[in-house]
Symmetry: C2
């Protein structure tokens, strides 16, 4: 039980000082007048949008991107003066009105969305802000060249709104040598010139895009994963700091009196004398089932392998590397920390660090650490 | 926007009538005097513990199993008179007191837990209920034979509590021919005889265990996955009914004017003329990233493939199988339904239906359907 009287099974500590350090590392890569926004969609990649936006706003971040309107409203109170952008835009009169009521800026990605926004703006006394999202080769959301031609012909659609910026999104920025990066950059520049006469502010780079160099930075960059410590340069050492420590409680432990099959399907045979511990953390908490027999946890610097199948609420580990006294004392172990990073877990699960973060369930108690001064 | 003014991106419909049908299918497999409990841990496998427990209690289910005390307190108000069992037991004075205050029954899996419970019970005027969890070959939580011998020697540990039942858990019940099933059954019976003189109530079977026959049922069965529609007999047709429909909103669609690389890493090449749609659902919502280029969705009975990488908040599909008019009307598609079941998604993601369910994020709006009468 913690001080609030809650039952504690697992703990996710988030180091807000390191978060801010990461933000500052990214900012140091930019020219003076380039803005560093923060992407806080999906509840700040699972880490907790309200706390993250509050911490970043306190060091001067003024621009936050979320996926949908629910997420925008969720952070509106923690960042009351900052710009909040909704990447999925508006889809009807009501969502457009909600944007204006709460001072939320929609990102417009299609002609139907622009038409919705135009109808809404027509009735306004002032020009309402929005961002135009251009498709430059990501193959996902965004206005394509034929859409821009259509808008040029129907120019009234932009008559009562103000284009805060024109943005696009990179698809291969984590592979710096991929020809697609330069291709997207070129296309984006051409569009800025052909359709906006270079007069609009522009934004292209995600986390990895920041590391492609100044050409990719324009007026604003929009990092997400790098702020949370995921490596934006997967082919090199991680320039970012890990911000999370995930701790699971030891539910039970035992030194085996005989050989023993472990967990569902009896896929692992433990041996007499092995030190076995059951942890209160499973795939329902976001520890992927594919990590069965294929990962490890940390205690006092020891790497302790996950044995048998990961189950819904529990993991079994082999703690035989510990001395008996250490084993007797072990009450919590670390599943993610500076040694076993989000990227390391991702590699073992054949995915990316982003999915490790967004899969962390609410069942782990969040503790936000911040050192003042 | 729905009637409550919320923004709608994706919808998870849960059919409570089918849930009850599943519960009744399981109950029909049992002898008259065998109790059918329900496992509602991990927020009822991601589906929503409060609604699920309420619906099952209304048709006579009186026994609910959760993983930890937080989960027990979460459902205590929706099922005020029913038995709520905490599988992870008690770990200190405070958790023991909370159990008694809220009439929650701990499942005791180790000697230290029993000692905690004993100290708590000593001060009570009445015998306090608990369940003893025996390890019969699962290789996870539970009292082993040496623990039972220890308890026999220190019999005062059981002096002021009432053993509601003795339970154990099967590790290979989804493989009916696995010798481990009979091995566990035999060991469980021996323990019931040797240490409890067959006087205690007993429980062994999970969902799959129910289908192993009467020998495995004892006084109570504890189904989880089967109630939620996951196939408890993976080598045969599913005897259960699907209870969920997962719908994602179409954010944008386009008939391609030219060939086109799709999503991160440009792993899919779409062709001129293809009908492409972007859905508001991604791996942050629980649609595993490993389903990239490897799954499909449903619209008007058409199977529409997921193309390119699944991204955090969006999926791209090829809807070329649709007529232009159908494509123009398409506003929501189904990601999980009676055709694309939880088990089908699991197979494609090389996991089990349980993990598909527990990975569903809170971002999808829950709608609980119930037909009265």
């Amino acid at each position: 039980l913690d001080s609030r009287g809650d039952f504690i099974g697992s703990i996710l500590e988030i180091d807000l000082n390191r978060l801010v350090e990461n933000y500052n590392i990214l900012r140091s890569k930019l020219q003076q007048d380039t803005i560093c926004a923060a992407v806080v969609k999906a509840n700040a990649y699972g880490v907790g949008a309200r706390h993250i936006t509050g911490a970043l706003a306190s060091v001067g971040c003024e621009d936050f991107f979320v996926a949908n309107l629910d997420e925008a409203l969720d952070i509106r109170h923690s960042v009351s003066d900052e710009n909040v952008y909704v990447l999925h835009g508006v889809d009807d009169k009501e969502t457009a009105e909600t944007c204006t009521s709460y001072n939320i800026i929609p990102v417009i990605s299609s002609v139907p969305q622009l038409e919705t926004w135009y109808k809404h703006c027509k009735n306004s006394d002032e020009k309402l802000p929005m961002v135009l999202h251009i498709e430059s080769g990501m193959g996902r959301l965004g206005l394509q060249e034929e859409d821009l031609k259509y808008i040029n012909k129907h120019h009234h659609l932009l008559s009562n709104c103000s284009i805060r910026q024109v943005m696009s999104h990179l698809s291969c920025a984590d592979e710096p040598d991929h020809p697609h990066n330069y291709h997207q950059l070129t296309m984006f520049k051409e569009i800025l010139f052909d359709y906006f006469n270079y007069k609009s502010k522009a934004s292209l780079a995600n986390s990895s895009g920041i590391f492609l160099g100044d050409d990719y930075h324009f007026d604003m960059v929009r990092p997400g994963c790098a702020i949370y410590g995921v490596n934006p340069t997967p082919h090199q050492a991680n320039p970012m700091k890990n911000i999370i420590t995930l701790k699971a409680k030891v539910l039970q432990k035992r030194i085996l009196d005989y050989d023993y099959a472990i967990s569902y399907g009896a896929t692992y045979k433990a041996s007499k004398g092995d030190k076995i511990a059951i942890l209160e953390y499973g795939y329902a908490d976001g520890y992927f089932r594919c990590l069965s027999n294929g990962s490890y946890v940390n205690y006092l610097g020891h790497k302790l392998p996950v044995i048998g199948r990961v189950t819904m609420d529990m993991i079994i580990i082999d703690a035989s590397a510990l001395q008996e006294q250490e084993f007797a004392k072990m009450d919590f172990v670390e599943l993610i920390n500076d040694e076993i990073t989000v990227d390391e877990i991702a590699k073992r699960a054949k995915t990316i660090g982003y999915e490790v973060l967004t899969s962390l369930s609410p069942r782990a108690k969040r503790i936000y650490k911040i050192k003042i001064g």
